[in-house]
């Protein structure tokens, strides 16, 4: 093999030919390798950009600005018998006026009142309802500030921008500065974000409704897709004869795994809502749609897990006189279960992040109440993020990023559990 080239004119050894090209070839090698590294680095850079971006915009949402007001629970305005009908906005306005007695003009007064969130009056109502003895006394109450004040406190409002281009006017900023001087404005942990449902006001909007909605939806999904998925996998792996019928089932499962998720949403709209008349926007329909969507994932993972159980286990069980069902239920299933659970958790994580099919079945409605069962109208976490992304207020942008952080934390916990489960129970046969 050594000198297969035709020798012409000067005699060149094959080693020489090889070493002449060597530099070029090593150069190519280095470039190729560099391209590989560059590709990996690009992915990592994208991922870190994404995270930096989300955390950068979202971290401030975990804090919220509160205003300290000295509220006089005037017995003429609030009565202990009927705390629901009292004029709480009036109380707030009075407290604000007492802080800035020099404000006289109606237009200015309105500007002054807008510094406090509309949710403040509900807070006063709660205080009165929980403790009627406050009536007739003067109390210092920390109430949520308006989202524009919140944004200013967090440094998202540029004071140098001309007055006409920002929502907060110069006079309002002066008042805010005075409040800061008096120690009446503080930032503290934003419990509202974790304890309330959606709202039109950023400072009052929270994710609890969406989290509960996601929980119910996933509950329905899990209850339907896990048993059905495992049963299908067991049938196909352990009982089914190899014939045309099971071939059709297998082709179907593989195709379903690749159908765009939005098509499942259309199925839900046409079948569950229009045909069966299930309630729109409910976690029940959402769960049904998502369980059809995650079914292929669970089936495929469960089959792989069943395949990894060695045949000797089955033979041993059968040889000792177990029936096929006993063999599967007593021996194969317990050994395959960790793998099945891992697949199920991964499927559930995907279902938790899914948005598109739920838009189709009306889970995009604006829902303030926290759902209490699976047929209440509800939203889910990713849809809530999508809804907030449409709102122009800066406060919603911040809350959306925070909601994404919460969603990612949930997903990471789920994946971590799956990884631990796999590590802990994985058996090499």
């Amino acid at each position: 093999m050594s000198n297969h080239r035709p020798k012409s004119g000067k005699k060149i050894g094959s080693m020489e030919i090889v070493s002449r090209g060597l530099d070029r070839r090593y150069g190519a090698e280095r470039r190729f390798r560099f391209m590989g590294v560059a590709a990996l680095v690009t992915s990592i850079v994208f991922l870190s950009l994404l995270f930096i971006n989300i955390i950068g915009t979202g971290y401030s949402a975990f804090q919220q600005t509160f205003v300290k007001l000295d509220v006089n629970f005037d017995p003429h305005m609030v009565s202990a018998e009927d705390p629901a009908s009292a004029n709480y906005p009036g109380l707030i306005k009075k407290a604000m006026r007492s802080l800035f007695p020099e404000v006289k003009k109606r237009r200015d007064k309105r500007k002054l009142y807008s510094l406090v969130s509309t949710g403040a009056s509900f807070q006063l109502q709660k205080i009165v309802e929980s403790d009627p003895t406050v009536i007739g006394t003067r109390q210092s109450v920390w109430v949520p500030a308006d989202d524009e004040v919140d944004m200013l406190m967090k440094g998202h409002v540029d004071r140098n921008v001309p007055e006409t281009e920002r929502r907060l006017k110069d006079v309002q900023i002066q008042w805010i500065d005075r409040l800061i001087e008096q120690g009446r404005l503080k930032k503290s942990f934003n419990t509202i974000f974790f304890t309330s449902g959606d709202s039109r006001n950023p400072e009052l909007a929270g994710i609890l409704g969406a989290v509960v909605g996601s929980f119910y939806t996933l509950l329905v999904t899990l209850a339907l897709s896990f048993p059905a998925g495992v049963a299908t996998a067991v049938y196909l792996e352990e009982f089914a004869p190899k014939n045309r019928w099971t071939d059709i089932i297998e082709v179907n499962i593989n195709n379903l795994a690749a159908v765009p998720s939005i098509v499942f949403g259309l199925l839900g709209l046409a079948v569950f809502i229009n045909f069966f008349g299930f309630p729109r926007s409910s976690p029940l329909v959402g769960g049904l749609v998502l369980s059809l969507m995650t079914l292929p994932t669970i089936i495929i993972a469960s089959r792989a897990s069943l395949q990894s159980v060695p045949p000797s286990i089955r033979d041993a069980a059968l040889a000792l006189g177990a029936s096929r069902v006993q063999m599967v239920v007593h021996h194969v299933l317990p050994l395959a279960l960790p793998g099945m659970l891992t697949g199920t958790i991964i499927g559930m994580a995907r279902a938790l992040g899914e948005t598109a099919p739920l838009l189709m079945i009306g889970m995009v409605a604006f829902i303030v109440d926290i759902p209490s069962n699976i047929i209440d109208p509800a939203s889910v976490l990713p849809v809530q993020i999508y809804l907030w992304s449409d709102s122009p207020e800066r406060g919603f942008l911040e809350r959306m990023s925070a909601a994404i952080m919460v969603l990612l934390v949930f997903l990471m916990v789920m994946n971590l559990v799956a990884v631990i489960l796999r590590k802990r129970f994985e058996r090499r046969w």
């Binding site: 090889v18 070839r25 090593y26 090698e29 190729f32 390798r33 590989g36 590294v37 560059a38 590709a39 990996l40 992915s43 994208f46 991922l47 994404l50 971006n53 989300i54 059905a228 049963a231 299908t232 049938y235 009982f239 089914a240 099971t246 089932i249 179907n252 593989n254 195709n255 379903l256 690749a258 159908v259 765009p260 939005i262 098509v263 499942f264 259309l266 199925l267 046409a270 079948v271 229009n274 059809l292 079914l295 292929p296 029936s323 069902v325 948005t355 598109a356 838009l359 189709m360 990713p382 993020i385 999508y386 992304s389 942008l397 959306m400 990023s401 994404i404 990612l408 997903l411 994946n415």
Partner: protein
């Protein structure tokens, strides 16, 4: 609420059925002087009892819930005076709605029509009767089944075989679920799409160059006629997907090559989870990233370079979609590259090739069918992707291939046409189903081709 109580009662009955059955079976063989042997283990007798106790009752409950509204409607209607019954179909359903609202008490003002009020009372009565009847039927069914099975319990009874037959039936039923889902998808989409094609000819939909699905309410309105030529929508989808593939294929493929051929175990332990993380991020998060970070960035860069860039440019959506698809391409390519036998690499090294030459001239050609299959799957993923384009791409259907302009995609149109109030008789809503049908067919074809290629290739080396 009564349904829950009923359900719990049935479950409790089943559990007690299980306990009773098991107890009686073991008593039968352990009784002093009993010389018989049980056919099955005692718990199978318990399971059999529980099965008969619970399953028929649950089936009846589900059927009852399904059929009850229709039967009650029928009964209420048949009791209405003849002059109302002779109303046309749609008026009649309005009356029925009134009655139902009245019965549910959601009407803000009491209906003045005594006929409707009476019918509503009738409806309420019927519902109460139906609920009572359902409770009685289900509970008696459970109890009768429990007693009947107990009566028949004998040591010769083949309890295990009965239970196992039932389990197998359940397994078979579950396995057909996938088929029913596919059939459901095809029928539901096809049915609505056919209605759309009755209003708009197929040729106009497939080859028309103008897409503006606004239907006027009045005939004399501006822009009264909707246009349903889907070509701009297809072009937009392809443009965004093409940009995504331009990003995802080189990066994904090179990452896979580097990870499987070059990287040491340290790099792999870092890089693999990163790629998995990219795959696990919900699409709505990518949408957020595309709409609020990448799109403004590209627009600003374009303005600096003196270009006119739309703030909903196809480039931004495609770029972010490409990032989303990187892990998809890389994991599929990783699989096929690892499936190439080591012998082929060793042969190439033996001839003096460098590592990159081996990869370029031996490994990739050998893995090419699998890689192509993976790329096809990734394309079908890109076409069907929704949230990124809904959040970052535009709504107006421009027929352009300029990546700096705003385009719209099939999935965006489906979402915008179907979110919000819908009327299921206007072509505007039905157009979404026609688009979905097309989306379904295209992705299905891509998947079938891809799976075929991958499978054929795998067989070569096994």
């Amino acid at each position: 609420m009564t349904t829950y109580i009923l359900l719990i009662t049935v479950v409790v009955l089943s559990i007690s059925g299980f306990l009773i059955g098991r107890y009686r079976a073991s008593a039968m063989c352990e009784a002093p002087g009993a010389s018989v042997k049980l056919h099955s283990r005692p718990s199978y007798y318990g399971l059999l009892t529980a099965m008969w106790c619970g399953v028929p009752a649950l089936i009846v409950a589900v059927l009852w819930h399904g059929l009850e509204p229709a039967i009650i409607d029928h009964l209420v209607l048949s009791d209405l005076p003849p002059e109302i019954r002779s109303l046309p179909e749609n008026r009649l359903s309005l009356v029925l709605n009134d009655i139902k609202n009245q019965a549910a008490g959601v009407m803000f003002s009491e209906s003045r029509d005594p006929v409707i009020r009476e019918a509503a009372d009738h409806c309420v009565r019927l519902r109460a009767i139906s609920r009572m009847a359902m409770s009685v039927v289900i509970l008696s069914l459970s109890i009768i089944a429990l007693v009947a099975v107990q009566k028949r319990l004998s040591p010769e009874m083949r309890a295990r075989n009965h239970v196992e037959r039932f389990i197998r039936c359940v397994l078979v039923v579950c396995s057909t679920l996938a088929i029913f889902t596919t059939v459901g998808i095809v029928l539901s989409i096809l049915f609505e799409a056919m209605r759309f094609f009755k209003a708009v000819p197929v040729t106009e939909f497939l080859f028309g160059l103008k897409w503006s699905p606004q239907m006027a309410i009045r005939a004399d309105q501006v822009g009264a006629s909707g246009a349903f030529g889907a070509v701009p929508v297809f072009v937009g989808t392809m443009l965004v997907s093409a940009i995504a593939m331009f990003v995802a294929v080189p990066i994904g493929l090179m990452s896979a090559i580097y990870l499987s051929e070059y990287a040491g175990s340290a790099v792999r332990t870092v890089a693999k989870p990163v790629l998995e993380l990219l795959a696990g991020i919900p699409t709505v998060v990518y949408g957020f990233f595309a709409a609020l970070t990448v799109a403004p960035f590209i627009r600003d860069m374009g303005t600096m370079a003196g270009l006119d860039v739309s703030s909903e440019s196809a480039l931004a959506a495609g770029l972010v979609m490409g990032i989303m698809i990187i892990p998809f391409v890389s994991s599929l390519s990783d699989d096929v590259i690892n499936a190439v036998p080591q012998d082929m690499r060793d042969g190439s090294y033996g001839l003096g090739a460098t590592k990159s030459e081996t990869i370029k001239y031996v490994v990739i050609p050998a893995a090419l069918p699998g890689i192509v299959g993976g790329i096809l799957l990734a394309i079908s993923r890109a076409i069907g992707e929704t949230m990124i384009v809904v959040m970052a791409a535009g709504l107006s259907a421009n027929l352009t291939v300029n990546p700096l302009k705003a385009v719209t995609t099939v999935t965006v149109q489906i979402v915008t046409l179907l979110v919000g109030d819908q009327e299921f008789d206007s072509p505007k809503t039905l157009a979404a189903f026609a688009l979905a049908l097309l989306l379904f067919i295209v992705t299905l074809l891509l998947n079938i081709i891809a799976l075929y290629i991958v499978r054929r290739y795998r067989e070569q080396y096994e």
